[in-house]
């Protein structure tokens, strides 16, 4: 007979039906209170009576599978998002119907591919309210976009003694390219610390800004802390000294309305794969007057105007920064993702996620010995729908492994590409659960239940 492992806690193993386990019928109903919807129901349901998570789930085939004997609960959206069938179809359709190289050919397929590719660019521009689609440069991902700004704008604009301000919560893709460029140009990197709410300190940032400041690089939403920075204000402070602002919007563009004109950002970057689009494509938004002054990043075809043996002239932006054959299918896939998201409405997505974020935070707080990083949600402080946390005396890797193997729950453990931040918080690693609009309250409930089970298991062993 299987014995309980800790006093009073019954070990449930729903995924191993051949074992004894004592589950009272009523308790299993509350615990696994999934409401099951058939696919047809999602179209027939009136708006408002079904949560966004439930209504969109059928569009994501990958979510309907079992992992290690349990239903998959995917909570690693900050790492990458899942793709709806609309995007998958767009990709397939591109390759089946009109795949051809863009900008070069005259024939029908090439013209169609070019149209769709440029249409995708327009969709991105509209999505973030850029004033013109020539302000959108397609790159491989946000990391490449930041490198583009660093090598192109940075190398030609930074001088010894110039200062670049970042926060300690930045992703290495935002830090490392500037370290490299700072070394080459003699510029200096300065870092803003966290305040008592575990959010980058805006007072400190304001004080750091001086006439020597040439650039600020800030995350709109932190992938570890869940905090949201006041970009509009930061841009105002920066512009008073003539500094530019590069916004890392990887965790914000997929989840909320982002308007580059409202923000007045000089540069903004995001990746497609975090917003229901395919991997291999991302973009840089840059104000026209800035892009026009910037020299090329990568050299090759597409970005040239005339090529001679001893020199070449370059194309206008955005082509100037898009050397070689682009990721055409992927760009079109991103366009389809934007259509999908716009069809739901970013405000609606944001509101739903706020609800879910608060629910997650609340429920997570009730787990034993848990420490959640980042600010407490309140009227003034909104958190993104993600929580990085640590449970005392249990290594996050152990948590994540057990959650995956025993419960099919996918979270992340590690430093989430934020080593300086983790060092500052005094930990080696943390666990992180991050949601997207196709997650449901039941996902959160299942996560908490599994987490409690996991924690009990490890504590019992000690």
């Amino acid at each position: 007979m299987r014995k309980t492992m800790t006093e009073g806690v019954v070990v449930n193993l729903p995924s191993f039906p051949f074992l004894f386990h004592t589950v009272s019928p009523s308790s299993s109903n509350c615990r696994l209170g999934f409401r099951r919807f058939s696919a047809s129901l999602s179209t027939a349901v009136k708006e408002g009576s079904v949560s966004l998570g439930h209504s969109t789930r059928p569009d994501f085939p990958i979510l309907h599978q079992e992992v290690n004997g349990s239903k998959l609960v995917y909570l690693d959206n900050a790492a990458t998002s899942q793709k709806p069938t609309a995007v998958l179809r767009a990709l397939q359709n591109y390759y089946e119907a009109y795949n051809s190289n863009v900008h070069r050919g005259i024939h029908y397929l090439s013209a169609k591919a070019t149209d769709e590719y440029e249409l995708a660019r327009k969709k991105v521009a509209t999505f973030i309210n850029a004033s013109d689609s020539t302000e959108i440069v397609f790159t491989r991902n946000a990391t490449e976009a930041i490198n583009l700004v660093a090598y192109s704008w940075g190398l030609s604009n930074l001088k010894p003694g110039d200062e670049i301000i970042l926060t300690i919560a930045e992703h290495p893709s935002a830090i490392v390219p500037w370290q490299i460029v700072a070394q080459k140009t003699g510029a200096i990197l300065k870092f803003v610390n966290l305040d008592e709410n575990e959010v980058p300190d805006m007072e400190e940032l304001k004080e750091m800004i001086s006439e020597r400041t040439k650039l600020l690089v800030v995350q709109h939403v932190s992938n570890v802390l869940g905090s949201v920075l006041p970009i509009e204000d930061i841009v105002i402070w920066a512009h008073t000294v003539g500094a530019k602002v590069l916004v890392d919007a990887c965790q914000s563009v997929p989840h909320m309305v982002v308007d580059v004109q409202d923000l007045d950002a000089d540069f903004l970057v995001a990746s497609s794969h975090k917003m229901c689009g395919p991997t291999g494509i991302g973009f840089l938004f840059g104000k026209s007057n800035l892009l026009l002054t910037m020299p090329p990043f990568l050299g090759g075809g597409e970005m040239i105007s005339d090529v001679f043996l001893d020199h070449s002239t370059y194309a206008e932006p955005p082509s100037r920064f898009e050397a070689g054959t682009p990721a055409i299918g992927e760009a079109i896939g991103l366009g389809a993702a934007i259509d999908y998201l716009s069809g739901i409405g970013m405000q609606k997505i944001h509101d739903y996620e706020m609800e879910l974020a608060n629910y997650l935070y609340e429920k997570l707080c009730s787990a034993p010995n848990i420490r959640i990083y980042g600010p407490k949600p309140s009227d003034n402080i909104h958190r993104a729908a993600l929580c990085s946390f640590n449970v005392e005396n249990i290594h996050p890797t152990d948590l994540a492994t057990f959650l995956d193997q025993q419960h099919g729950v996918a979270i992340r453990s590690g430093h989430h590409c934020a080593q300086p931040l983790h060092r500052h918080l005094g930990v080696n690693a943390s666990a992180r659960a991050s949601l997207y609009f196709y997650n449901t309250k039941e996902d959160v409930v299942e996560f908490i239940r599994s987490l409690n089970d996991t924690v009990s298991f490890f504590y019992a062993f000690k």
Partner: protein
């Protein structure tokens, strides 16, 4: 329903010294001495995977302890109990000295931190020690430590990582940089190989000049009786090409090392060489003032009558302060005047 095989003989043989730690019954149902008897359910086949895979190494080639461990895990069918068994191994692992938790001993590719250290006993068998901050990886490390320790290097080198599949722990065997288990085994095998090479080359001159082998050592004379504090990693026998001007470019630490050794050991020959540049880029080096790795060649009467291990212990003792403040590793050649003359 799955039942467990519970033959006490298996757990408490002399081959499993760690299992003599019998936990309190209330916490470990797996090892409880409640009066419940289990019978082993005959499984479909002893090694269900062997029929499908042609490449699986035959059990007989594994070190005997490893075979026992594999069989033990196979008899436990329920995954949770497997984890408990794993963690139990980890719990009984001897803690690793903090000094040994350095870059040379760190397993790459683990999301948690894992260190492994190897040394030879008098019979040239390889022994391991390991530690980790995550209980599951500690368990895996302990499994390897228990399974592989006490065996000759050649046997250890023959072990193919496929056996992990037999454990049923759903260990991925993809050779990626993130596969901690695979990297653990690889590191242990690499260390065994290094120890083997050192041993075969004999005392004194190895001459292969590889800095990365700092972790291997060869305390051929009565090493096992010494406490593990003596056997520090980062110590390696072997002559280096000597630098005529050994104080060329020595910084503060280098000079301090030289002064200390000169004062305490009155050597007739002393060379201190800063080779930190060869380690630049290691995570352990970043943030220090750059003086992290040194070669030391010292000839002194003080070493007469002392075993190689004792000589090293002496030097390490003198430089303890440096070790606490950023000195990472020393590569030491310590001889007596008569030994030098004989060569």
């Amino acid at each position: 329903m799955a039942l467990y095989s519970f033959s006490s003989a298996r757990f408490c043989t002399s081959k499993f010294p760690i299992c003599f730690h019998i936990p309190k019954p209330s916490k470990f149902p797996f090892f409880s001495n409640r009066s419940i008897s289990f019978q082993k359910v005959p499984t479909k086949s002893p090694l269900p995977l062997q029929s499908s895979s042609t490449q699986l190494q035959p059990m007989e080639e594994f070190p005997p302890k490893l075979q026992e461990i594999i069989k033990l895990f196979q008899s436990v069918e329920e995954p949770k109990a497997k984890y408990e068994q794993l963690m139990f191994y980890g719990k009984n692992l001897n803690p690793l000295d903090t000094q040994l938790k350095n870059k040379e001993n760190k397993v790459e590719g683990c999301v948690s931190q894992v260190w492994v250290r190897a040394y030879l006993d008098e019979d040239k068998n390889v022994f391991y020690q390991a530690d980790s901050d995550s209980v599951l990886t500690k368990g895996l490390a302990a499994l390897l430590v228990n399974g592989l320790s006490g065996r000759p290097a050649k046997e250890i080198l023959r072990v193919s990582p496929d056996f992990a599949v037999l454990l049923g722990l759903q260990q991925s065997l993809t050779p990626s940089r993130n596969n901690g288990f695979l990297n653990m085994l690889k590191l242990m095998q690499r260390k065994a190989l290094e120890l083997l090479i050192e041993a075969e080359k004999g005392n004194g001159s190895s001459g292969n000049g590889q800095i990365e082998n700092d972790n291997s050592e060869k305390p051929v004379e009565n090493s096992n009786s010494d406490s593990k504090v003596d056997e520090n990693s980062g110590v390696r026998f072997g002559s280096r090409k000597s630098n005529e001007d050994s104080s060329n470019g020595l910084g503060g630490r280098g000079m301090r090392i030289k002064e200390k050794l000169e004062r305490e050991l009155s050597p007739i020959e002393l060379e201190v060489e800063d080779v930190s540049y060869q380690h630049a880029g290691h995570a352990g080096v970043r943030g220090s003032d750059g003086e992290t790795h040194f070669n030391v060649r010292i000839v002194s009467k003080e070493f007469e009558g002392k075993s190689l291990v004792k000589r090293h212990r002496l030097i390490y003792g003198l430089l303890d302060e440096e070790l606490q403040t950023g000195l990472h590793a020393l590569s030491i050649v310590a001889k007596t005047p008569s030994e030098v003359e004989a060569n």
